[in-house]
């Protein structure tokens, strides 16, 4: 595996003076081909900003972004559209398909932007949508598709120009859990079968298991995984230092609040739906990657 995308010392400041916000602070990261990297963190922690910088949508205030050995953060603005078009595939939380075009045309359009002839673009788009299980839906308008189908169209659109890196910002946030899982499996397959790097931003605990690697972002900084834990009740990430803890059977659990701890204890008592006991963040973070289901 080779490093596709690497960022070093990346900082992003919005605004100036007293009202300025440092959304990302000195972040360094790299992604390999075939790897699924998950960036997690609470809302407002700078995940989207970081993803935008990685995908050449935003220029960092400081630091460098290197794609396949090229420092793209140094490129002039006019050189960026082709990089975005050919090297990155974006998947958004709210799909952002063009409402006036069919699924097939939405995907083909992005190929046409590179100068590919209409017929060839449509053919490739059809193939890709078929691979993603949407053969029956190609002629549908986005409005006629379910959320999961829309997101699969968006993934096809992100893949059509065969990019090095797929960047997905909260791709499952608008989906129910089974559709969300389906999308995550698809993204994982993209990384494994096509050897693409996949970077996913999410605060959704349910999708941690498909990632090869998870990083935590908080207040624009990467946090040491060792010091982070997930509240087993509400799913919020909490720092060990600030968490409400519970020792039980030799295991230490971390909660965001007393309320969650109480609820956790209550649930443990109750006979119904027992949550899987967690042994701290590492166990679930580095839990064996779920085998790929075709």
């Amino acid at each position: 595996m080779t490093t596709t995308l690497a960022i070093r010392g990346v900082t992003k400041q919005f605004g100036h003076g007293a009202t300025s916000v440092e959304a990302v602070r000195g972040v360094g990261l790299s992604v390999e081909s075939g790897e699924v990297l998950l960036i997690m963190g609470p809302s407002g922690s700078g995940k989207s900003t970081l993803l935008s910088i990685m995908g050449a949508l935003l220029r960092p205030t400081a630091g460098t972004v290197t794609l396949n050995g090229v420092a793209i953060s140094q490129l002039p603005e006019r050189d960026l559209p082709p990089v975005r078009l050919r090297e990155f595939g974006f998947v958004f939380q709210d799909f952002n398909l063009l409402a006036a075009l069919s699924a097939l045309e939405n995907v083909a359009l992005v190929a046409e932007l590179t100068g590919t002839a209409r017929a060839e673009a449509l053919r490739r788009a059809g193939e890709l949508l078929t691979e993603l299980g949407l053969a029956e839906r190609v002629a549908f308008l986005p409005d006629q598709l379910s959320g999961g189908e829309k997101q699969r169209v968006a993934i096809a659109r992100a893949l059509i120009n065969d990019p090095s890196v797929i960047l997905a910002d909260e791709p499952t946030a608008n989906l129910d859990s089974s559709n969300g899982h389906e999308i995550m499996r698809t993204l994982r397959a993209v990384a494994k079968e096509r050897g693409r790097s996949v970077v996913i931003v999410s605060h959704d605990q349910r999708i941690r298991d498909i990632a090869d690697r998870v990083v935590w972002l908080e207040d624009g900084q990467l946090r040491d995984l060792m010091t982070m834990a997930v509240d087993p009740v509400c799913g919020m990430s909490v720092e060990h230092d600030r968490a409400v803890t519970l020792e039980q059977g030799g295991e230490l659990r971390f909660f965001c609040s007393r309320g969650c701890r109480a609820e956790f204890l209550g649930e443990l008592d109750g006979p119904a739906e027992t949550r899987p006991a967690r042994t701290g963040p590492l166990a679930s973070l580095f839990q064996a990657v779920r085998p790929k289901t075709p």
Binding site: L57, D94, E105
Partner: protein
């Protein structure tokens, strides 16, 4: 393709913009056509009269605007100048004609039916045979309820209507034709001649003819100069208001297309933002917006041109004294100007697109 789909997804909006452009194009075409109609009417007499130049009183350089009086000596001598094949005398006088309480301008032409200078097409009747007879413009006569054989009063004399002419309405009224003797009596000016319609002999030198006429104390003015000066006179009256109305209609067209394209662009802001994030350059996005404006403008201009031609027919049937002339060249110019409308209308939406940050699409 995206442009067309974006438009056709909202047919009402498309219809509105097409209708807006159509209205603006109809207005422009009718106004411009009305103006060329006025010009055509203003030059109709000279276009049809014999000869290529007129002898006029010294200093007179237009046909409708000023009265010209030639000395009898000039009238006699011009006819015998070398290089003059024919010199047809006419008398012109603008009078106000009142009948049934309705006042109209009448441009009275006195002529000699044997020599020419009279009506070029009669819808009914004949040319005047005596000094008590007159030929009226058919449309004006119809409006006054005057028919052949009726008597009308002009200044203080009664004249019998013996003919109705065609194609003789003009911007400030209509033309009427009587014998020279009738005008001499009406105006109490025996021997009065206003102009001579001069036909030079083939091969005659116009400059030397001009010098010769000048030495007689009058001017030889080419018809084209008189027509141009009459137009200039008209232009002073009509061009500013017509130009203003055309400009307003043009701006309305731009605003309608611009507004429709702008709202559709703003509505799809996120879609365009996503396209930018995916890697579409500003140019590709401008093209989508400009194509939308172009489609709306061309559909509007096309239907506008058709409506204008229908409107032209209807207007001229309803009010025959209005002459509206829409020619192919005007239509071509106006269609081209609809392209300009589209270009201007897409400026603001294009700016909105240029200002769109690709990263914005990731912000909720």
């Amino acid at each position: 393709m995206l442009a067309w789909r974006n438009l056709s997804r909202d047919p009402i909006r498309l219809l509105l913009s097409v209708a807006g452009v159509a209205v603006s194009i109809v207005l422009i075409l009718l106004l411009v056509g009305y103006r060329s109609g006025i010009y055509a009417q203003a030059s109709a007499y000279l276009d049809h009269a014999s000869g290529s130049a007129l002898v006029a009183e010294r200093g007179v350089a237009d046909f409708f605007g000023t009265t010209s009086t030639l000395e009898p000596r000039v009238v006699e001598q011009v006819a015998s100048l070398p290089g003059v094949a024919a010199a047809v005398p006419i008398v012109t006088q603008f009078v106000v004609f009142e009948e049934h309480g309705r006042k109209d301008g009448m441009f009275l032409v006195g002529y000699d039916p044997e020599k020419g200078g009279g009506p070029w097409r009669l819808a009914a009747g004949r040319e005047p045979a005596t000094d008590e007879e007159i030929v009226l413009d058919g449309v004006a006569a119809g409006q006054h309820g005057i028919g052949l054989g009726d008597r009308i009063r002009i200044l203080d004399r009664d004249l019998a209507v013996v003919g109705l002419s065609e194609d003789t309405t003009f911007w400030s009224g209509s033309m009427a034709f009587a014998r020279i003797g009738a005008l001499e009596t009406l105006l109490r000016a025996p021997g009065l001649r206003s102009f001579l319609l001069v036909t030079p002999t083939p091969g005659a030198s116009l400059p030397s003819l001009t010098t010769a006429v000048s030495s007689l104390g009058a001017d030889l003015v080419p018809k084209s100069t008189l027509i141009a000066n009459d137009r200039r006179l008209l232009a002073r009256v009509y061009d500013a208001p017509i130009g203003l109305m055309v400009a307003i209609a043009f701006v309305i067209g731009i605003l309608v297309v611009g507004l429709v394209i702008y709202t559709s662009t703003v509505e799809r802001r996120r879609e365009y933002g996503a396209l930018k994030a995916i890697g579409a350059g500003n140019r590709a996005l401008y093209r989508v917006v400009a194509t939308q404006a172009l489609i709306a403008a061309l559909l509007g201009a096309g239907s506008g041109a058709v409506l204008a031609v229908v409107g032209e027919r209807a207007l001229m049937a309803w009010r025959p004294q209005f002459r509206v002339e829409i020619d192919a060249a005007t239509v071509a110019v106006v269609l081209a100007s609809s392209l300009l409308m589209a270009a201007i209308a897409s400026l603001v939406p294009a700016r909105a697109l240029a200002g769109l940050e690709p990263a914005e699409v990731l912000r909720s």
